[in-house]
Symmetry: C2
Subunit: 260 residues, 2 copies
């Protein structure tokens, strides 16, 4: 029925019925947001447009938006507008951590892209993680991980060069760390160590991840090892904090995975 598809926002407001105008506007917008009429991440009309549509002063609209922001249904950014809140993606940190599987489980479309690769000497931290001598040659890969085509994280991977010299070429074809490992004889790998902290992003990260102002990044340092327990990858991954939430579940956690 066509009249049902007309956005609720076009209905008129009632004055003097005991419910403040801003409350009515808030209820209308909240319905639009919760019903999915306004998609997650979508930009709401400007305050001026909303004020015109509802036939009220801009301040009245602002009061409604402030309430929605308090309820975390929208995010308001100075100079840009108001946006429907995007649910944070639950990223499982289990015994096996797989980017694609994690995203698909959340009904997001994963993709990865190679930014570049080179050969470097192992620093203190990388050497310790990979259990090699400092100054050992490592292959370094810079990649971006996307969810639904939008950048989600930037990773710097380190691999022992001797064993994985061909990783960059293979990754360039397969666009997946897991697949590249398999192609190079590592049928399975497990997470042995994870360190998580947070900081503000630098300018390059703001650009690469398309971050809003005042959004921090989560920094995850991880080590993966092959079936024999030999470290095969050390990585530092920078995540957009407003789009991700790490989940550690005891049932299927870091050392009790189902092994699927």
């Amino acid at each position: 029925m066509t009249h049902d598809t007309v956005p609720v926002a076009h209905r008129e407001l009632e004055r003097g019925n005991g419910v403040a105008l801003w409350r009515q506007i808030q209820a209308v917008l909240e319905h639009d947001l919760r019903s999915g009429y306004v998609a997650a991440g979508e930009k709401l009309p400007t305050e001026r447009q909303l004020a015109q549509r509802f036939g009220v002063n801009r301040h009245t609209v602002r009061q409604a938006l402030a309430e929605l922001a308090r309820k975390e249904l929208i995010v308001v950014e100075q100079g840009r507008g108001a946006f429907a809140r995007r649910d944070k993606l639950d990223y499982a940190l289990a015994r096996r951590v797989r980017f694609s599987e994690n995203l698909l489980r959340q009904s997001r479309i994963p993709s990865e892209r190679l930014l570049g690769s080179d050969k470097v000497q192992a620093g203190r931290r990388a050497a310790e993680a990979l259990q090699v001598l400092p100054a050992t040659m490592l292959l370094r890969l810079r990649t971006v991980g996307n969810a639904d085509g939008r950048p989600l994280c930037c990773t710097t991977h380190y691999f022992p060069y001797g064993r994985f010299a061909g990783f960059a070429a293979v990754y360039g074809q397969l666009h997946s760390v897991t697949a590249a490992f398999r192609a190079l004889g590592v049928a399975d790998y497990v997470r042995t160590s994870t360190r998580i902290t947070s900081r503000m992003p630098d300018a390059a990260e703001v650009r690469a991840l398309g971050l809003a102002r005042q959004t921090p990044v989560l920094v995850v340092e991880s080590v993966n090892a092959d079936g024999a327990g030999t470290p095969v990858e050390y990585g530092v991954c920078v995540w957009a904090a407003d789009r991700i939430q790490f989940v550690i579940d005891a049932a299927e956690s870091v050392c009790g995975g189902t092994g699927g």
Copy 2:
């Protein structure tokens, strides 16, 4: 030998020897920092003082400080000064997560303080975590955790009211969640779920944690259960991101604890 204890910074710089002045200054300061002559967290002299000591322009000093900040050896705060970087505390997320034990393992002195408590109805999230019906009565506790007397995290704890009505009183005496649980018959409890994300702090959090400008917080939602697997606590903890790093280690991790 006394002349060896004179800070290297008092030596004069060489001009026109192929090494830029700011590089020489950076090297001197880096030595002072790495050697421990300047302790972690200690304030460096002001830019003006350093410029005078080295006999150069303030800009030249700033260039050296910028390099040290890039190397994360110092943290510079507008209006306050430059500070020798304080190592981040490694906080282990294992099967058993204990605030005091975690800090003592890092040679920090732990302390906890009760901010307040009240009785509230369970919201959606708390009800789900504690496996009770929404609107079930819960005891809510607000606490602060300190490391070496400095605020590190603010936690909001939720306990099923029926079973733990006396928790606040006991905690007020013992200043420890673990000890309070034991006093109320919960000899042991284990972490069943952990969710981690990050955001910018609000004004109250900046005050409570003594955060520097532009420092994000890590937000950890957790559920702990007793020996029988019954959830006993749901908590939301806000951590100062510049002082903490969460560590998940496969060897003694969320489900493979040593059970000490």
